[in-house]
Symmetry: C2
Subunit: 344 residues, 2 copies
């Protein structure tokens, strides 16, 4: 039994526990997670007994060549065929996951009698297993290694974009498929914009740089941020940097199975607030990484998540002084029983 | 008045015609189209009189520095604040676009009394204007130019992935931001899978290759497919190639303002069916390209779209013989009054 077959079996166990007859799966991330077939445009209907895929004709042969434990069909109308199977197999309690569904599809499912049930696949996706951990670990290792090579090449006179393209190239040369998100190279005051769009601005001497990057490797994401100063850093930069550094280290030190995600956020936030910069820490402390660059759990003040062994999350506090500079320090970590492993 | 301000004004005209007081916009493609600010996580509320943006705190300063004609706010709860403004400004008929909305958000809007109205921003996005046409043209030119350089380098012994990475590099060196989708390099029997996932397979002598690629340039996509044979093509390949070539040329020749999109599909489909290969043409003939790689209009047998001047679409019939080979020929074209301009 391969890893995907096992995941579908896990979903079937969840269906039983949740007293559901079946569920539909429609979003590429969940589809790829359950079958290993990562393309979009198809759907799964998983009952307690079997799993069926409904595909456009152009994907049928392709799917069959890759996935042998799911029955595959290419009907004229995929959604009508799903409903017709639900009816003919008497799958009376069939669920869809509202949080992964589009509005038109969700409305269609409701009209046809399907019920909403949150977090069915998310429960599996949050906790990473063997091959997934290896993929995140590899993705993080490639990004880290690429930055070591890249950092000395970030010099005055280079544009943000040229730095971005080169780090992408280095990661690809180490086996990454591509970046895991739009890489942020923020130089000078641009470093104060947490989601700055990498621009044609030239890095100057005696100014800060913020680099937020990561890659995709075997479909899994890495995410790292490094902040540093080109030239001789002024006292204010050193001060802000050391506050963020301390906040990040304290937050990372608290990560272990059983801790509430919001307490990790509180640790970092208290540290920055105590230093007098609370109003400049304008985002959450972290997020899960996996097939998606932002996925469950959330590490912010409103999070209801509890960290568990096998979760892979980022820890990334920051301070942003508008018009001046910003510092964010981010690592990706693997949650363990008694602590965490820093992957980056 | 810049191009984005004009687009918001155009939306306000549509609101008037549609007898709406306001609309919410929530998806990054529509948000970027209307403001030039392409990040996710924020929302717009456009009334007939003004436009407001509701952002997470981390994006507020960034948004303000880029967009000066929209009032920007960073409330604690974005969706609650949107509703509160709708109520306090008495925007009784406020619409959301169901086709761009997630299920949880759509349900929320409905509960709060918003109404569904399809195609409000799509009406503007379908027809490209000056700067958009230039961006698509540039994106297509870069992809075409890259392929000219790349084609002689596609030789026996190279892996599909290495070809993919090199064409990406070349496009980036010409100013592209990255690929506009997962580039497909299908060698040998892989060419028979329309959405083959580029693999570590090595290209061999005397076999077909299919290359489906494009880039992102100034946020706009290009899309091209070329099929060819390494070595001496057998008669069957030449026959299939010439059928697809003829179908593609005939379909392109029919493209002009006023023609029904489904008639372009019929032209290509009839050509391939008449040659006896109808069952192997397993997808639609084309799609719009713009900010998204697949957007309105659709060029397939069920499409209700009418082509209009300023639309940018692909024309890409194909024949796929399972386990043997596939041929698809795709160009991106700009619809004009009396014909079309081939951009690739």
């Amino acid at each position: 039994m391969n890893i995907y077959e096992k995941r579908v079996k896990d979903i079937q166990k969840i269906l039983k526990v949740e007293k559901l007859d079946a569920m539909v799966v429609t979003r590429p991330f969940e589809l790829g997670f359950l079958t290993g077939f990562h393309l979009e445009g198809y759907m799964l209907l998983i009952s307690r007994l079997d799993a069926r895929a409904y595909l456009p004709k152009m994907l049928l042969e392709h799917f069959r060549s890759k996935v042998d434990f799911v029955k595959a069909f290419a009907p004229d109308s995929i959604m009508d065929e799903v409903i017709s199977t639900i009816n003919s197999c008497k799958l009376r309690k069939t669920a869809f996951e509202p949080e992964t569904e589009t509005y038109p599809r969700g409305v269609f499912w409701r009209k046809k009698g399907l019920i909403e049930r949150k977090g069915l696949t998310a429960a599996l996706r949050k906790i990473k297993e063997g091959a997934e951990i290896e993929a995140v670990r590899k993705s993080c290792a490639i990004a880290s290694r690429a930055f070591k090579i890249m950092k000395p090449r970030i010099k005055p006179g280079r544009t943000e974009i040229s730095i971005c393209l080169e780090i992408e190239d280095i990661m690809q040369s180490f086996g990454a498929k591509g970046p895991s998100f739009n890489i942020i190279i923020g130089s000078g005051p641009n470093s104060a914009l947490p989601h700055h769009e990498t621009s044609a601005r030239t890095v100057k001497n005696n100014e800060p740089v913020l680099v937020d990057f990561g890659c995709l490797c075997d479909f899994y994401c890495s995410d790292i941020t490094r902040a540093f100063f080109i030239g001789r850093p002024p006292a204010e930069y050193l001060k802000i940097y050391s506050i963020v550094k301390k906040a990040q280290e304290k937050a990372v030190a608290r990560v272990r199975s059983g801790v509430r995600a919001k307490d990790i956020d509180k640790t970092a936030r208290d540290c920055i607030s105590d230093a007098g910069y609370g109003q400049y820490f304008i985002h959450g402390t972290g997020h899960g990484i996996g097939l998606e660059i932002h996925e469950a759990p959330s590490l912010n003040s409103k999070s209801e998540d509890i960290l568990k062994e096998g979760m892979t999350v980022t820890v990334e506090p920051g301070i942003y002084l508008p018009g001046k500079f910003g510092v964010r320090i981010e690592d990706s970590v693997l949650v363990k029983k008694t602590g965490c492993e820093i992957l980056t």
